[in-house]
Amino acid sequence: MQKMYSKTSHQEQVDKLAPKVETIKFLLDYSKALSVNDYYNLKFEALLN
């Protein structure tokens, strides 16, 4: 019984979730690599790795 009541609720587990470190690193690297160039009214995206 104690176990049942002391178990963390599903909602609490959901609240503690966070993305993987790799995912965040990928996003930061993607951001650094991406550049948008304006040419008159056009915008060109360039991914420079």
């Binding site: 990928f26 996003l27 930061l28």
Partner: protein
Amino acid sequence: MKTNTHTDAVLVSAYINGDESALSHLITRHKQRIYSFIYSKVYNRDVTEDIFQDTFIKVIRSLKRGKYNEEGKFLPWVMRIAHNLVIDYFRKNNRMPKFENKDDFNIFSVLSDGALNAEKQIIKGQVENDVRRLIEELPEDQKEVLVMRIYKEMSFKEISLQTDVSINTALGRMRYALINLRKVIDKHNIVLTN
């Protein structure tokens, strides 16, 4: 700069002006809320990870393209993007239901390739040839009924009309045809299985 105390608006504007570390702070600040929000809808860690990533790819592209109008609503804007991607995910999944293999269930144990492999195709051909040759050995009247019933898929009524005999006679000929075939098969120990 003390980024922890800066508002989202300040960080967004710093990021647009080329400060890459501002994005890192924005992600760190909001990652848990956005990730939990996505997970609460899809209940799958891998899918959540994908949608989270796609959300921020959209955020980064929009910010770099100057499409974002700062109105002090960075988090609601990101949440809206995540929400739309979650909807897209469910729409796509409805069109194409996905089966996941779990420990106790593997979809490939239910789905199988019905086609025979090369060896079995050859055996099937040989068995069919043997059966045809055996049928050729039957008396003419029995052979006629058997061919009409099995190969031409005619009903016994049609067979009786075409051969000009009663239905019972046609049934009897079919019965004897099968009995005779079995006899020959037993006698010569012919194996007719694939």
